[in-house]
Amino acid sequence: MTLTISDWLALFLHFSADSLLAVGGAISAAPEMHRFLVQEHHWLDDATFANSITVAQAAPGPNVLFVAVMGLNVGLVASGGLHSGWQSLGYALLAAFVCMMGMLLPSGVLTLVITNWAHKNRELTAVKAFKAGVAPIVVGLLVSTGYVLNSHNNHWSHDWPLWLVALISTLLVWKTKIHLLWLLASGAALGALGLLQA
């Protein structure tokens, strides 16, 4: 199975649409990506889809890079995988690039246009009011996200060590200047040693 020109175009256009839908972060468009890549086109199976998000989370970098991993996997699946030769790698990298560009260009252009306008009109009451009005909501959303990220661990008797880790991490980041990589490494080590399962 290879991708036709119209498939490439569909891939690019789909991620361009996701780009404009993704308010609050790229991950909020993940259900739509799943519908398109897995259910509609069968370019990825469920496991590979979920895996793409997990791998991107485990590696350093902005979360949006999971889109590049999805593209890479679409390219790998379509070209028969790495064992079928080097052109498969090129194919996979091209697909990663096409998906990333789709994801970044529309929202990027929109962001630049709007923020340049807002900067030129920064003395307008509407612009000032918007920035002031949304600021508390955004702080609230950050605190919520911190909670939501851990809230799927909802079996208290079983998951309390994860909550303890989150609490300690909150206090250390809030009150000390400890380097964040130490915290992440400690969390990963505790998890890998199996100490976070009660």
Partner: protein, 215 residues
Amino acid sequence: MTLKHARGPSCVWDLFWSFTLLGLQGFGGVLTIVQRELVEKKQWFTPEEFIEDWSVAQVLPGPNVINLGLMFGSRHFGLAGAIAATTGLMLIPSIGVLTIALLYGSISDNPIAQSALKGMNAVVAGMVLATGLKLIPALKKNPMGFALSLCLVLLTLVSVNVFKMPLAYVLLGIGGLSTLWAARQLKRITTPTTLQSAASFDASAKVSKQDASTP
């Protein structure tokens, strides 16, 4: 548009490398690192500027940290700055993530990697929460007043976590109403002292030409 800031990246390369380092340190999201490095260490943002820019980055569609990079880069060095900040955030990290994806495609099948990831996710949850808590004092300069701002923070928390309200409703509903209220408060401001505090809340005002000319 090239603007001088008392503190800021010295050139496009400085911007590129700084954002590359941010990208490489960001596991499970770059936001906490950005707050640590650019607000606390380098002081390229004041906390108030950071909340404002982060608000805009969050409200506009697209990846938040990329939006923040675009805004910050373009404010300092125009389009070249926007491109430098975003490629910095993504270029080297994407080489890393794609290599890992090619080598260890099936990380979800590995129970040890899975538990390590769980531990990391718990740490990340705490990091994001702490970043929110750290930004609360910056709301003191909000023209709506600190008390009302805190109520809005709580209202957002309850809407998202208790009532499971979708993000768009929260931003449009609560955000819309509070923007109207902020507009009303800004129009009522008449005394010079309150005017000053309102002006200092406006991030962009700080990066004006007047600031650049003062030693």
